[in-house]
């Protein structure tokens, strides 16, 4: 690697240097050569990226990470996890001395006291066939040498973000040839900024200019509604103007950017004069003519002069128009967006859900006639559907709070373990843990009183001491009998319920010490917050608080949703009982119809293809997933395909299932380890396993296909692998419950 090619000024970039400076770098160099005003820019070339990656052997580590499984077998959560681990590689390795020296020298000369914008400029991005706009990271207003270098690393790492990996996969681009140049630009703060499409993506004969006060980030990140001008492409005459009453705009803060209120004039929406529109349009036309293709130009306006921040081809191919870039970008949520979501969830949705579940639970269904009961079933099914929809539209996206925190934590603390941040979240009180503590208390009573245990085993509930019976009933009132996999459901008799069976099994083993806390959460929290400059510490506390709320809700929401579903099932069970008892034919038809909407049998998890029979010639010996909870455990597998399988769960078995749901994690205190087909470090199975200090491997695609109840398994939660030994013939025959 020739040293002089690591850092280059724009003037040294030739038009065919795309592989060295990326599309954005080459475009800016061309504009500068043509006398168009651009910010002062230095280019950290792809040679610098390659030197960094080669020095630390990162390419192999990245590909080892990405090739553990077939990409198609990886869920988004697993891709996010892999991206987080890769990002940490970039954050925790030092720059090679040659690069460090050249970069520091350039920064000392040009950016010692100037704010910088750090932009991605990958050779693959900004082609006419594919727009990577927003896929790779850019950072605005970064000050100080160390911070600028840190942000260069982050831009490098964004080549391997979840969004970038998915987008390249969709475009069929080979990750092996991916590289990244980075532009370090002087920050130019214009009065107004915006974009111009020299050909409107909506109408080919038109151009579009959009403008916002302050920095362009307001527009690019969708935080500020821009004013818009549609121009005739030939004459440049304004065809239409849509003003925007902007009350806020994005401006530089001490570091980074912030939203701030605007003075009155900008609120009128007359952001640009006719002359300024002409200037921008003229500049756009000139740039299009230079590059010979329609352009998407980012500009800022300062003292009547246009500065072009970047220019790239408008992506016009059908493939580019139909790509899913917008969806990939939606995977990233801003702090502000998540704060708004939190208010809605905590102040409106959760209280409403609890109210609704309580109201449904208190209704006496016995007093309803058949028609009214059928109507009640339908109402409850609709209610259940309503909250299921909210689960997907609001609760699932809110899980990004924990992810955003994880990324920020790693950026500032730079831990060796990219999942160290989970320790700060693990101390969060959760409904499922409170439920499990109550179960352990019930088991404690049974353990101390053999007569109670005997009565439970024999189903003689009427002989139970009244205090124990009251405690049992209180549990049922809150969480149900645990038989159907729906929290709050009281299906079947109590004597034969999963709850009673579980309490007996828990009581049969020695008392379990409370979950041992090995980390000082408060000390960790302080360490995190003190990694920020004094003026940003309040924000850091807010982010931690948001993350804890997001982490807690990710578990609690299923419990709340379970309670709603339990009430829909209660009405369906009443309808089924009414039908079984006979009645007028017409009412029976109405009940039948309503009952069809709410099947009482919970479906077993779908068979993921061919299930290998015990006689098959093919067996899994060692399967690969993701490490999701450290530790090693060996035990018999208990494959759970439907809630009914949980009843047979024995102490020290390995819980194997398609997807762990908080409504079934009551068996986890009994388990020796957890293995899940669904993947991710921040999914329920992983969260609850870590709470109990259990080894956990998630994202094992074939686990439900190849593992049978009774198989001897070793769970290696450090490496993310499970080793399977076939069960003995005896164990096979004893495992037919699956």
């Amino acid at each position: 690697m020739s040293g002089e090619k690591l850092i280059l000024p724009l003037a040294a970039i030739r038009p065919d240097d795309i592989d060295l400076a990326g599309g954005k770098g080459c475009a800016l160099a061309r504009l500068e050569r043509e006398g168009i005003r651009v910010p002062f820019t230095i280019v950290v070339t792809t040679g610098a990226y390659q030197l960094f990656v080669d020095t630390h052997g990162l390419q192999e580590r990245i590909f080892l990470e990405l090739n553990r499984k077939a990409f198609a077998d990886m869920r988004w959560e697993e891709i996010w996890d892999a991206a987080l681990r890769i990002r940490n590689l970039f954050l925790t390795h030092p720059l090679p001395p040659a690069l460090d020296h050249q970069l520091q020298d350039s920064l000392d000369r040009r950016f010692a006291d100037r704010a910088a914008v750090i932009r991605s400029s990958a050779p693959q991005e900004d082609s006419a066939a594919a727009s990577f706009a927003g896929i790779h990271e850019s950072y605005v207003n970064v000050r100080g040498r160390a911070r600028i270098v840190d942000h260069v690393r982050r831009v490098w790492a964004s080549l391997w973000s979840d969004a970038a990996l998915l987008y390249r996969q969709e475009l069929g681009l080979r990750p092996e040839s991916s590289s990244m140049a980075v532009l370090i630009q002087e920050l130019v703060v214009g009065a107004y900024s915006g974009v111009m499409f020299t050909v409107s993506p909506m109408q080919e004969g038109q151009s579009v200019i959009e403008a916002v006060p302050g920095l362009n980030q307001g527009l690019v990140d969708g935080l500020v509604m821009p004013a818009r001008w549609i121009l005739d492409r030939e004459t440049q005459a304004v065809v239409s103007h849509t003003p925007s009453a902007q009350s806020q705009a994005v401006f530089p803060a001490d570091q980074g950017v912030r939203m701030a209120s605007l003075a009155e004039p900008a609120r009128q929406g007359d952001t640009l004069s006719t002359r300024e529109i002409e200037l921008i349009a003229e500049q756009g036309r000139r740039i299009e003519s230079l590059f010979g293709a329609p352009q998407d130009v980012e500009w800022t306006l300062l003292d009547g002069q246009i500065t072009v921040l970047q220019a790239r081809p408008v992506t016009t191919t059908a493939a580019a128009k139909s790509d899913k870039r917008g969806w990939y970008l939606s995977l990233r949520r801003s702090f502000e967006n998540l704060q708004q979501l939190r208010l809605r969830i905590e102040d409106e949705l959760i209280p409403a859900m609890i109210r609704e579940a309580d109201e449904l639970a208190s209704a006496d269904l016995d007093i309803l006639d058949d028609e009214a009961l059928a109507a009640e079933v339908r109402r409850r099914v609709d209610c259940n559907q309503h909250w299921s929809n909210i689960y997907w539209t609001d609760f699932i996206p809110y899980a990004h709070g924990a992810r955003l925190f994880g990324q920020v934590y790693n950026d500032v603390v730079k831990p060796d373990n990219p999942y160290a941040f989970a320790d700060l979240l693990a101390d969060t009180p959760m409904e499922s843990l409170a439920r499990n503590r109550q179960l352990e208390e019930l088991a404690g009573i049974v353990r101390a009183a053999p007569a109670v245990a005997d009565n439970l085993r024999l189903g003689r509930l009427e002989h139970l001491p009244s205090s124990f019976r009251a405690a049992l009933d209180a549990f049922v009132a809150q969480y149900g009998t645990l038989s159907s996999g729906v929290t709050g459901d009281r299906e079947g008799g109590l004597a034969d319920s999963t709850l009673v069976r579980l309490v007996i099994t828990l009581a049969e083993r020695s008392p379990q010490p409370p979950i041992r806390k090995t980390v000082d959460h408060e000390a960790l929290a302080r360490e995190f917050v003190e990694s920020f400059p004094a003026e940003e510490r309040d924000w850091a506390w807010s982010l931690l608080d948001l993350a804890r709320s997001s982490y807690r809700l990710r578990d609690d929401d299923n419990i709340y949703l379970g309670r709603i579903e339990a009430q829909a099932r209660r009405a369906a069970q009443a309808a089924a009982a009414r039908l079984a008892g006979g009645g007028p034919e017409k009412a029976g038809a109405a009940l039948q119809e309503a009952l069809a909407l709410m099947p009482l049998e919970k479906a077993a998890s779908p068979d993921p293809g061919l299930t290998i029979s015990p006689e098959s010639s093919l067996r899994a010996r060692q399967l690969v997933g993701q490490p999701a909870g450290p530790g090693m455990a060996r035990g018999r597998a208990r494959v759970v395909r439907s809630p009914g399988d949980l009843k047979a769960f024995q102490s020290e078995e390995i819980l194997v299932c398609d997807a762990v749901d908080p409504n079934m994690t009551f068996v986890v205190p009994l388990a020796a380890g957890v293995v899940e087909r669904r993947g991710g470090m921040l999914i329920h199975g992983a969260i609850i396993a870590r709470e109990y200090g259990l080894p956990c491997v998630t994202g094992v695609p074939e686990v439900m296909q190849f593992v049978r109840t009774g198989d001897l398994m070793t769970v290696d939660g450090y490496l993310g692998i499970v080793i399977v030994s076939p069960s003995s013939p005896g164990a096979d025959s004893a495992s037919t419950s699956a």
Binding site: E60, K69, L610, L618, R619, A620, V624
Partner: protein
Amino acid sequence: MDAHETVRRDIAQLLSEQRLATLSTCNAQGHPYASLVAFDVTPDLAGIVFATSRATRKFANLTDNNHAAMLVENSRNQKSDIYEAMAVTALGVVSELSGTSQETAVAHYIRKHPHLTKFIQAPSTAVLQMAVDVFYLVNRFQKVMEYHVGRKADPAAGRDPAG
């Protein structure tokens, strides 16, 4: 293609593409030995044919103890081998071929290794075949599948190649 067919196809492809295998043997005292052999596989994957001089240590070991392991892999001595390479370990019992079974095996072997015709036809060379009990297919660094050839799986047969 289901998992069963995929694994069988991968094993068959690797065994037909690769020319050399690492043969592991053990003498009567339990001392191990490893050697490189040119091999051929029978069309039903049930047998792996190789040849050796009767004067070699591997032949002596196999005379003492006919249980053996054979490793076939396609690494290229690159860093990316760790996730790109595939390996198959075969476990089974080795016996010397004779008569028509030997003639058939030799004819097939020569098609794969024409330059070894003289070697395999020499009077001092023994033509051997491993009757494969089980294959272990390893790919993506750590994924291991167990494939039993031509019979129902016998749990007791599962010795651990990685162990």
